[in-house]
């Protein structure tokens, strides 16, 4: 995958700064730098936190998400594992049950499938089946999503597979600020959290991220933009495209309300109802295949609770129902959600 010059950990966040309103300097981090920063801060804060995964140690991860952690915390806390996802999850789950705070990395979300049994049968059900005697505070990180010419095994959205397993939380952040706050919250959570990072966002999305120790609530959605004409509910990288599309449409007088789900399981039902009722015209967006995706559940919540506020059929914009992300660039482009598709869908709904 992408190659990067190795960089000493202490210099990693010094690369660019922007001046905030108050005159304070706040570092600008990319999405992946925010991942590293969150891991580093949590490992410094709590020595029970450790990282395990393929090439996460000396190499610093294939995407460099754990860059510098091996040097700073050593091989006992940044553990390179064999190519066995079931073992990565299983070892992590066992450690978590014994009071550790493991952060397991799946190199690509596409490879998580051998670990599904561990995650669903063990981690998600541990607290329930032991009548609260045992808990499993593991965080499993995995890069998902397409648009990087990764084709079949490096592009999939796998969240729907895990999204009806009570006991498991699924967090999918859309921005560097959210990444840091949510990943820290995931590590501190006393139950298993699946933390899915969009790999295309890793280096394309940058924003100011405070140096301070902050967390964001898991299970709460976030209004990214206030608007009165249509409501867009989405998550992950699609949020970024939706925000840009909304800015373009604002010039045409279309005022878009954007809700970022942040946690896609369990869903923040109150926030969804509120956002949908606000405008009565709802567009749901996901990069996943349309049928059976998370947004279908969002649509169900809205139609269950908001019928008399609805002013249009609930619209879904999603990937086509084909088995996987194609490799051919024109086909990949056709599969992927992008700003233009979102803009067209928003305009269509606004005009309804």
């Amino acid at each position: 995958m992408q190659k990067m010059q190795p960089m000493p950990a202490q210099n990693q966040f010094m690369t660019s700064y922007m001046e905030t309103k108050g005159g304070e300097m706040m570092p600008v981090l990319s999405y992946i730098q925010a991942v590293t920063k969150a891991l580093q801060e949590e490992m410094e804060r709590d020595e029970k936190v450790f990282v395990l995964g393929e090439d996460v140690g000396v190499r610093g991860g294939v995407f460099r998400a754990t860059d510098g952690l091996y040097q700073q915390f050593g091989e006992s806390r940044v553990i390179d594992t064999p190519l066995a996802e079931s073992a990565i999850a299983g070892v992590g789950i066992g450690a978590a049950m014994y009071g550790m705070r493991p952060v397991a990395e799946m190199q690509f979300a596409d490879f998580i499938l051998p670990a599904v049994n561990q995650i669903i049968s063990e981690a998600a059900k541990m607290r329930y089946r032991s009548n609260n005697d045992w808990t499993c505070p593991i965080t499993i990180r995995a890069p998902y999503g397409g648009g990087v010419h990764g084709a079949l095994y490096h592009s999939q959205s796998i969240e729907a597979i895990f999204a009806n397993q009570p006991g498991l939380k699924i967090v999918m952040p859309s921005s560097p600020y959210d990444v840091k706050g949510l990943l820290k919250a995931a590590i501190r959570d006393n139950d298993p959290v699946l933390f899915l990072e969009h790999k295309r966002a890793y280096r394309s999305i940058k924003e100011e991220v405070p140096d301070t120790d902050y967390t964001l609530p898991i299970g709460k959605a976030d209004v990214k933009r206030e608007g009165s004409d249509i409501t867009v509910i989405t998550y992950g990288l699609c949020v970024q495209w939706a925000i840009k599309a909304a800015e373009n449409l604002a010039a045409e007088g279309i005022d878009v309300h954007i809700l970022d789900l942040r946690t896609i399981y369990p869903l923040d039902q109150e926030a969804i109802k509120q956002a949908a009722s606000k405008t009565g015209k709802v567009l749901l967006i996901t990069e996943d295949n349309k049928e059976g995706s998370i947004i279908g559940e969002v649509a169900a919540i809205i139609s269950e609770h908001c019928l008399f506020d609805l002013d249009a059929p609930i619209k879904r914009l999603a990937g086509p129902d084909v088995p996987s992300m194609p490799y051919a660039p024109p086909l990949e482009k056709e599969f992927m959600i992008n700003q233009d598709k979102i803009e067209a869908a928003m305009r269509d709904l606004a005009e309804f």
């Binding site: 009565g280 008399f308 506020d309 002013d311």
Partner: protein, 414 residues
């Protein structure tokens, strides 16, 4: 040019045939597209069949009282343009009501598709959806359209005394068909003229007016006032006008019949506690409607004094917005121009206006004998949404009673 067939339309789901009860056209007649050409009877509906084309009727194939199957030819028409046979236009004409809709193009075919939100808001706010303009695709009424109607409605109620809103600016529309000749003078409509125009249009379009007139014998009032006016002018320095007596009598009657001292506010009627009479004061070409507040609490002298002050202010242009605010009922002194009968336009959003006409000496029969009496007509315009004839009639006869019994005893000046 081309010869086209007009066929029997499908006049309902299960209808297979129709009887032509009446041809509305003859061969040679020119018809426009959608003009009714025949009345058709089926076992379900009676309907007019519209023409599918514009052109000249060539031949009537089916006869009156003849029953023909759906799709059979009714008549032939020579068309002017090469219009293609449009099946949909024919089949749209299902019932008489639907015929009207078929005039509309596809642009409005979403007009009656209501979303749950629109239906709920319309029901909660008693909005007639047929009167709402849809700004959605194909004329659909959106939730925002309804929300705007609700917002406009509450704004209207709040800003009712100054009703210059854009919705009602019909008076502002220029009339293209008025043609000017050399020497004609064009006066731009601005300021007070514009405000008056807007008020009048709003009042007459929104308020269902009803009228009523009574005749009052004010001989006693005339005698009383004539006896007092010189002394009054000498001591007070201003005129003791008839108008003050009328206002006094009207205020007393309003106290008894508060129904007339009210305003229409959409979903409720607001009955005002204070009796604040708007009075029309003309100055030059301008008309002002200043307000005398709490008339029921004032003596004849007090009222006369305020009339004098307000007219002076109107003359030297120093009337303020404050002077014009808060009127609850309007009294118009049309008699000052010699008018004996008039139909006032209600001062929106009040419920009624009363016109005091000219006092005229006329022969009147009293006890089978002619007598020369001072007579006056009082004309009332009422908002029929708020008031009915009975209450208005009682109000008017109460005023009549007060005025006919005026004397130094019943109505002291001070």
């Amino acid at each position: 040019m081309g010869l086209e067939k007009i066929t029997m339309p499908q006049l309902g789901e299960s209808v297979t045939e129709g009887t032509i009860s009446n041809w509305l056209i003859q061969p040679g007649d020119h018809v426009s597209k959608y003009d009714p050409i025949a009345e058709v009877l089926t076992d379900k509906v009676n309907a007019e069949v519209p023409s599918s084309f514009t052109g000249t009727i060539k031949e009537l194939i089916a006869q009156e009282d003849e029953t023909i199957a759906v799709g059979d030819v009714m008549c032939l028409i020579e068309t002017e343009t090469n219009e293609k046979t449009s099946e949909s236009n024919v089949s749209k004409a299902k019932t008489e009501t639907e015929i009207n809709q078929s005039h509309e193009t596809n642009q409005t075919d979403m007009k009656k598709r209501y979303s749950p939100a629109v239906l709920r808001l319309a029901q909660e706010n008693s909005i007639d959806l047929s009167e709402v303009k849809g700004n959605g695709r194909a004329g659909r009424i959106t939730r925002k359209d309804i929300e705007k109607v609700i917002a406009d409605r509450s704004n209207q109620v709040e800003s009712a005394p100054m009703p210059v809103d854009k919705e009602n600016n019909r008076s502002n529309k220029s009339s293209d068909n008025i043609y000017t000749q050399a020497g004609d003078k064009e006066i731009p409509v601005t300021g007070i003229r514009k405000a008056i125009a807007n008020n009048m249009v709003r009042s007459t379009t929104e308020i269902p007016h009803a009228w009523m007139m009574i005749e009052v014998d004010v001989t006693n009032l005339v005698n009383y006032r004539n006896a007092e006016k010189d002394a009054f002018k000498e001591t007070e320095g201003y005129n003791l006008s008839y108008f003050a007596f009328f206002l006094n009598a009207i205020a007393k009657a309003l106290k008894k019949f508060p129904e007339l001292n009210s305003s229409w506010a959409g979903d409720k009627i607001v009955q005002h506690k204070d009796i604040n009479l708007s009075i029309a004061v003309a100055h030059g070409k301008e008309l002002f409607v200043p307000v005398i507040k709490n008339v029921d609490e004032k003596s004849i002298k007090g009222i006369a004094k305020e009339i004098d002050q307000l007219s002076k202010k109107a003359r030297n242009g120093s009337l303020t917005q404050e002077d014009m605010k808060g009127g609850t009922f309007t009294v118009n002194n049309t008699g000052s121009f010699g008018s004996v009968q008039s139909m006032g336009v209600i001062n929106y959003p009040q419920a009624a206006i009363l016109q005091v006409e000219s006092i005229v000496k006329r022969p009147v029969i009293i006890d089978d004998m002619f007598a020369a009496r001072d007579m006056v007509n009082l004309c009332l315009s009422l908002d029929h949404r708020v008031l009915d004839g009975v209450i208005s009639g009682q109000f008017m006869s109460h005023i009549k009673g007060i005025l006919e019994n005026i004397s130094g005893d019943t109505t002291p000046i001070y």
